[in-house]
């Protein structure tokens, strides 16, 4: 197992570093990692800690408002345990720009879990600019879980471009359920070669005056490629969301599906724009979109078990976002 050295150029002193790591991990309820688990902690523009495992390369350096990170999983390597990334800002304001370039080499397999935490945010910007290449027959599962404070003072701008090569597979989930979202402007694009599979999910609970804009697009350019876009959004109070999901199939036997469900309560507003485009008659793309309040039959069933309306609604939403 390789143990990477911590960037010695960082001005953060050891005690302060340990304290920040502890606060970051505490905010995501991850108090320690087991042996053999790779993990990277980044606070603001400082890499606080890096632990790697064989077959995983991570090279990082600070930029004025963030960090650039190159990640590579070597050819044929399977990383047994999920690799944990913790990005965050503990103070109530600041900017964090994360620029990543990820390559999963041919036949390699890995799961990444990115925890983005801004527990005290009042005015925080988190900008993610990611480029991902999944080489032939490789696999990456990427779960990005956000933990925000109750005030919603965060602007999240995640932008990701993914290229999935022949028979590769990329699964991604963006989850923001705890805390107020703030403003989210998510923009994911994926291109699939022959036999490649992309499965993108977004699960978001918007509150207060959150503003959520999701754009996801998958281009099925290879024969028998598959793309599935799923957005499940729950909104309450004065939150607003726009979801644009687009699947473009231009190859024979490509298959795609768009699934957008939004539950709204109170003065919340939602808009769903599923776009499906087929450029080869042998391809097949479907979509479903539903926006509405909590289903009355679901609600009445739970009420008749003795749950209050709030408890029943929370349980239904918890299911939708699970």
């Amino acid at each position: 197992m390789a143990e990477a050295a911590i960037d010695t150029k960082t001005p953060i002193q050891s005690a302060e570093r340990d304290e920040l790591i502890a606060e970051l991990l505490d905010s995501i309820k991850q108090h320690h990692y087991g042996p053999g688990v790779a993990h990277i902690e980044i606070h603001g523009n400082e890499v606080l800690g890096v632990k790697l495992v064989d077959g995983l390369e991570v090279v990082s350096h600070s930029i004025p408002d963030g960090v650039e990170v190159d990640i590579r999983v070597k050819k044929g390597v399977t990383i047994q345990n999920p690799v944990h990334f913790c990005f965050g800002i503990i103070p109530d304001n600041g900017v964090q720009r994360i620029i990543t370039r990820t390559v999963i080499e041919e036949g390699a397999r890995a799961q990444f879990m990115a925890h983005c935490t801004f527990p005290n945010a009042v005015n925080v910007q988190h900008i993610m600019d990611a480029k991902v290449i999944i080489e032939k027959g490789a696999y990456l599962s990427y779960l990005e879980r956000h933990v925000h404070g109750p005030k919603g003072g965060v602007t999240i701008v995640p932008k990701t471009e993914v290229r999935v090569e022949e028979n590769g597979r990329y699964n991604t989930e963006f989850e923001l359920i705890e805390g107020a979202a703030g403003a989210i402007d998510l923009d994911y694009k994926a291109t699939c070669a022959k036999g490649a599979v992309v499965d993108m999910k977004a699960r978001i609970y918007g509150r207060l005056e959150d503003r959520i804009h999701i754009r996801e697009a998958v281009y099925l350019e290879g024969e028998e490629s598959v793309g599935v876009l799923t957005s499940h959004i729950a909104l309450k109070e004065k939150a607003q969301a726009i979801v644009e999901n687009e699947v473009i199939a231009s190859a024979p036997l490509a298959r795609g599906h768009v699934d957008c469900k939004e539950i709204i309560q109170g003065e919340a507003q939602a808009r769903a724009i599923p776009i499906v485009q087929v450029k080869d008659h042998r391809a097949h793309v479907t979509h479903e979109a539903a926006i509405g309040s909590v289903d009355s039959k679901q609600l009445e069933t739970l009420l008749s078990r003795g749950l209050s309306e709030d408890q029943a609604t929370d349980l239904i939403i918890k299911g939708l976002l699970s």
Partner: protein
């Protein structure tokens, strides 16, 4: 002792009485059936007792264990121990069977999930970690809904067409739940069209055009299913009491 007493219950929809001056007593610890033709008001009566939206603006009164529940919300009635199993069970995307079963249970014990699934004849190992969603058949969801009612340990359960959408073998599991509930001291009201379901009851009411037109033992009420009941060409003007059985 009566678990439920309904007194002069009337529910209007515009000028039409969906339920017309109904009075009845539901004895504690018995299995009762409410039978009658389509449109007679059977489901309406159950939904009115439960206090669902659209069924709350009533005349008369409903007493549960001696307390008027007319002014109570659905969940307040449920917390007193009253519940309803719907004819068509809801689907819940992503909601786990385990969470659904324990939702109304007072004790949130994992062992109760397995016990409830066993009572309805579903293998806990196969079902407890699934979601109550479209991957389950209507019959499976119905049995899981019954499992949730079993876990709730209610005092009065109304089951609207408990055998609808359920295969013949699984109906026996539903009957087992009815027996379990009764053995636990609960009172059960079956809303049914089915002679087989009626056989599970100790006592039945015949509802026609929103009125109770007869009541009696299961054997006596079986005439309805044998075509000896007055056929319902009388919608809006039912034949009642003395005219029946002529």
């Amino acid at each position: 002792m009566n678990t439920l007493e309904i007194r002069n219950l009337t529910l209007m929809k515009g000028p039409k009485a969906l339920l017309a001056d109904i009075s009845l007593d539901i004895w504690q610890g018995y299995v009762h059936a409410i039978i009658g033709p389509n449109g007679a008001g059977k489901s309406t009566l159950a939904q009115t007792i439960m206090g669902l939206s659209g069924y709350r603006d009533i005349e008369g009164d409903i007493f549960f264990e001696g307390q008027s529940i007319k002014g109570l919300s659905v969940d307040e009635r449920a917390r007193l121990g009253l519940t309803l199993v719907f004819q068509e069970p809801a689907r819940y995307e992503g909601l786990g069977v385990k969470d659904f079963i324990l939702a109304g249970a007072r004790e949130k014990k994992a062992a109760l999930v397995d016990e409830a699934l066993n009572v309805v004849g579903l293998d806990p190992a196969r079902y407890r970690d699934r979601a109550v969603d479209k991957t389950l058949s209507g019959g499976e969801r119905k049995r899981i809904e019954l499992a949730s009612v079993y876990a709730m340990k209610p005092r009065l359960v109304m089951m609207d067409e408990p055998d609808s959408g359920v295969d013949i073998d699984s109906v026996q599991n539903i009957f087992a739940v009815i027996r379990e509930l009764k053995n636990d001291g609960a009172t059960v009201i079956l809303i049914t069209h089915s002679p087989e379901v009626l056989k599970q009851a100790d006592h039945a009411f015949l509802l026609c055009a929103g009125q109770i037109v007869d009541k009696g033992t299961m054997e006596n009420m079986y005439d309805y299913f044998n075509g000896r009941c007055a056929p319902c060409t009388h919608i809006g003007n039912p034949i009642i009491d003395s005219q029946l059985g002529a």
